[in-house]
Symmetry: C2
């Protein structure tokens, strides 16, 4: 057995504190890290075909397993390629640890003149931690083996406290290979846990609940909004039961929707401009909105709070103080805490009184929801599919282990507006960016997460969007991942055409065959990336083929011929008081 | 005619100061910019399939035309996707202007609480200029129509002075659409030119030449090293004639090699660890190296200057002061100037005396070069191709308008070590990163640059590398670009296998079919992206097919079956004094 190198020690730390899978693109600058991964008996790895996909895959795995995702990239472009995906992880509060190789330290130090800033150093070296500093909680270049323990400690604490976000460790080649100062990772972890436990001020407490309750008790038309912050709730199942029992109407952000079937009476689904069509009316009428871990984004509150009643009271429980402060006096009560311990405090809410006050509000809004849900999405026979119909029908073929991933464009909106999360329990998607091409890397991470349980992934994507990470189709076939890639064929770049027609007299640019964006031939694409192919032309085709498609465990690309003029549901006008 | 919007004014500025082509991926957040491009009669555009490719394509066009490349992207992920490519442009001193759409200003301002830093704002908004600040000369968010003129002025000056590098302008949607404060772009340009002309201290002068000459006169074994900085030389043809006439031995960096055929007696080709095999010996023996616009990278000087003689004198003429300072006292004479005006000062060199002193040095090193060049690259019949043989033979099919682009991996090294630039006049490649997947975006930019002149692009890439931007094959077929994509098939990730065999007992990770990186089927890939396909199996195949391949003007993918165990040329040991 060789002496334990810094690379081995770091990878050992990873295996004991994060996912047991690493998303990798190997490279000379990370060679000792790569070899340590290969040698570590507790780690497996998946090779992506562009580093851009790695942080997204890792974040998806993180969302489904709760373990920090892990990425390992090489120096220079290997690192910068991961930047954009990591920015997505950052804005969406994903928890991912990136480990990068770097050129030897002496080259970073500019031969002893490290105070001088230059654009690059060594062969393909860049000061990557200075780049990633703005999109991570902690980015650190390791310059000495003596620092390793302290840096890993800091990384652990950042990964496990506060608002989740990525961490980046950059390790020069000659540091990777050095014999590591000996220390026990297990001891380090215990030490970190003790330190974290010391801070008792982190989670919401009984006093906070009392303050919230006092406002809730006086509200006639309250709404609860559940954001990603609810992921931190311990005993979530118990919290969920209480919420249902409470009868207080609640909404979800796009990324929490999958946690609550729409059949729950007081669940009003996704809130916001592209949320459930009824949501805008309810939002405008509400006199109090209690956000649990949502940042009140402009897609919900509107430009200058235009979607809200002027007198509405906003309560924000948010782990990130700045997400409260940004709203200034618009937030009546800001609680800068995590939701971790909320479950044990729920008896602080006076449900009886609250419910007495909101009886008519509940009845009214329940009617709006029921009326809407009673309408089913229309689908003519022998016609290209209505995206809403497709999404709703697809959901029926999910089983409890199925994961849905969605992409930028109309499928993103349609899913948020129509998925009922009755049979489908998991969706991984974007909360903020809705970046084109997102769905495929998310599906890879999801598939890795649910593979051992035999879970399948429905990866819905657009014929324009899928191009942006199309190289990852090869990852699907290489690893034989159980991912069904549903490519919505609507003639490519449909949403671009929409705004070009609406605002610019139909002056197309980069949105039609003639203006530079002819869509791919997906039959040939499937063959090229060694994937099975199917096409769904209409509703009959759907019902004929879907059972067979979801019945296989191989990856497959399914082209879904949809209406090129798909109209998205708009906020609904109602006569609600 | 509508009122001139800020978007129109900015795009007008672009058309008058930069390339007349914009690399675009359209998006809602950049809609007024997109429409202004569509409407501007002097601009054309090319749609890429991932923003990642756009800065590379624009930089390639910039290198060939001398005009600043232009990229237009949308907010959020559209912007972050361009980050990695732009980092490459930054380290390689490319000149590219990026214009991005941004969410409306009120959302960036956090509803009047702009002092609060949050991770994202609006729908898909991020503070992109804070991200790109580290990889551009100037990054600026436009917050007021009154600022437009001043910001464009600053952008112009940054683009046209100092060490080249990218500039980024970020324009909120509601600023794009506002009626612009009226000002004349032509007047603005005149004003900028006057201002730039005022600074007479920018270029090398007679005194500098005198100082250099004084050192050169005392050198017995001098070398001149030509870096990218020579691109700024006015009357380059005249400078080139003088250099040849001077008989002083010179080397080139990888990115300047194409400017000088190897048959020029005193041209010793590419210098460095993967340069011409003879270069290391000459470098070690030299007593004075005069760098004109090279940063003395570690690939040339070695770790801790190990590739140089301890007593060597280094002279650095560099526009970037930090590239001089980083070497501390190792540089005997540092001149922080551009090379723009050097041509008119060349009579300051005492060529007679210099040449008298270096007679034996010249004779000796000439012998080394001639001996080496006399050997041709071997190629057995009926065998996979020797990459060196392939590159050398391919060069013979170039015409004066042909452009070569190369990628990461063995083809990058082989080209630098073997291209003679006799029939081939242009190569666009990486000077610093050698990022995987680089060659295809560079080829797109190159093709746009030489299209009107009927030029063809030889895009050499690897079977591993090409995957990283494979979506851009669709750009080739959409625009019917005259690009021949030569995919070197060596079993994928050949250079990774090499270090895994050398340093890690052949423990493969992410480098073989069984460890996650099975190469693509390139015949099927060609069909999927609507490209013609050819395969070259051996030398006979090469000679049979190449005339037909280069004789067409359509894009084509050509798979070149190469030796999976290709050995790269190592620095040559010689008995030079």
């Amino acid at each position: 057995m060789r002496n334990k190198r810094v690379a081995d020690q770091i990878i050992d730390f990873v295996s004991k504190t994060c996912s047991n899978n690493v998303f990798v693109l190997t490279g000379n600058g990370a060679m000792y890290l790569n070899d340590a991964i290969e040698l570590n008996p507790d780690l497996s790895y998946v090779c992506v075909r562009n580093e851009a996909a790695a942080p997204l895959a890792a974040a998806s795995e993180n969302q489904l397993t709760g373990k920090h995702g892990v990425v390992c990239v090489t120096a220079g472009p290997g690192s910068t390629n991961a930047f954009s995906g990591l920015a997505e992880v950052w804005v969406d509060s994903g928890s991912v640890l990136v480990i990068s190789g770097q050129v030897p330290l002496e080259e970073i130090d500019n031969y002893g003149h490290s105070e001088v800033e230059v654009r690059s150093f060594g062969i393909a070296g860049v000061p990557i931690t200075k780049y990633t500093n703005v999109i991570t909680k902690y980015s650190k270049l390791i310059t000495d083996t003596n620092e390793v323990r302290g840096i890993l400690k800091k990384a652990y604490i950042e990964l496990n406290t506060g608002r989740p976000g990525p961490v980046w460790l950059d390790i020069p080649l000659n540091i990777q290979s050095q014999v590591c100062v000996d220390f026990s990772i297990d001891e380090l972890i215990s030490e970190c846990k003790l330190e974290i436990a010391k801070d008792t001020n982190l989670s919401i407490d009984a006093n906070n609940i009392e303050s919230i309750n006092a406002l809730l008790e006086n509200s006639k038309r309250p709404l609860i909004l559940l954001g990603r912050g609810v992921d931190s709730i311990e005993n979530f199942a118990e919290f969920k039961s209480w919420l249902i029992k409470s009868k207080i109407p609640f909404f979800t952000s796009r990324v929490t929707a999958h946690k609550f079937p729409i059949s729950i009476e007081n669940n009003f689904g996704v809130l916001g401009v592209r949320g459930r069509p009824w949501s805008s009316t309810l939002l405008k009428k509400s006199d109090l909105i209690l956000s649990l871990g949502s940042r009140f984004p402009s897609s919900i509150v509107g430009p200058n709070y235009a979607y809200l009643d002027k007198e509405v009271q906003l309560i924000s429980v948010d782990i990130d103080i700045n997400e409260i402060k940004r709203h200034g006096s618009k937030v009546s009560l800001g609680i800068n805490k995590s939701l971790a311990k909320i479950t044990s405090l729920l008896n602080g809410f006076n449900l009886e009184l609250i419910n007495k006050n909101i009886e008519s509000w509940k009845t009214e809004i329940q009617k709006v929801k029921s009326n809407f849900l009673a309408q089913s999405h229309s689908q003519a026979a022998d016609s290209p599919l209505n995206l809403y119909w497709f999404m709703s029908e697809l959901e029926k073929y999910a089983d409890p282990k199925t994961v849905l991933t969605t992409d930028a464009g109309s499928n993103y909106y349609a899913a948020g507006q129509s998925m009922n999360f009755e049979k489908l329990n998991y969706e991984v998607t974007s909360g903020t960016f809705a970046a084109m091409g997102l769905s495929l890397p998310l599906a890879i991470g999801a598939s890795v997460a649910v593979k051992n349980k035999g879970g399948q992934v429905f990866c819905v994507t657009g014929d324009g969007s899928v191009e942006l990470n199309i190289q990852e189709l090869q990852t699907l076939s290489t690893y034989d991942l159980n991912v069904k890639v549903f490519v919505i064929n609507n003639g490519g770049y449909a949403s671009m055409r929409t705004w070009q027609e609406t605002y610019f007299d139909g002056r197309y640019i980069g949105s039609t065959d003639d203006t530079g964006t002819k869509p791919l031939d997906f039959f040939k694409i499937s063959k090229a990336f060694n994937l099975d192919y199917e096409v769904i032309q209409d509703s009959k085709d759907f019902h004929d083929k879907i059972p067979l498609i979801v019945g296989t465990s191989q990856p497959m690309l399914i082209e879904v011929m949809c209406d090129g003029n798909q109209q998205l549901l708009l906020p609904m006008e109602t006569d609600l008081v």
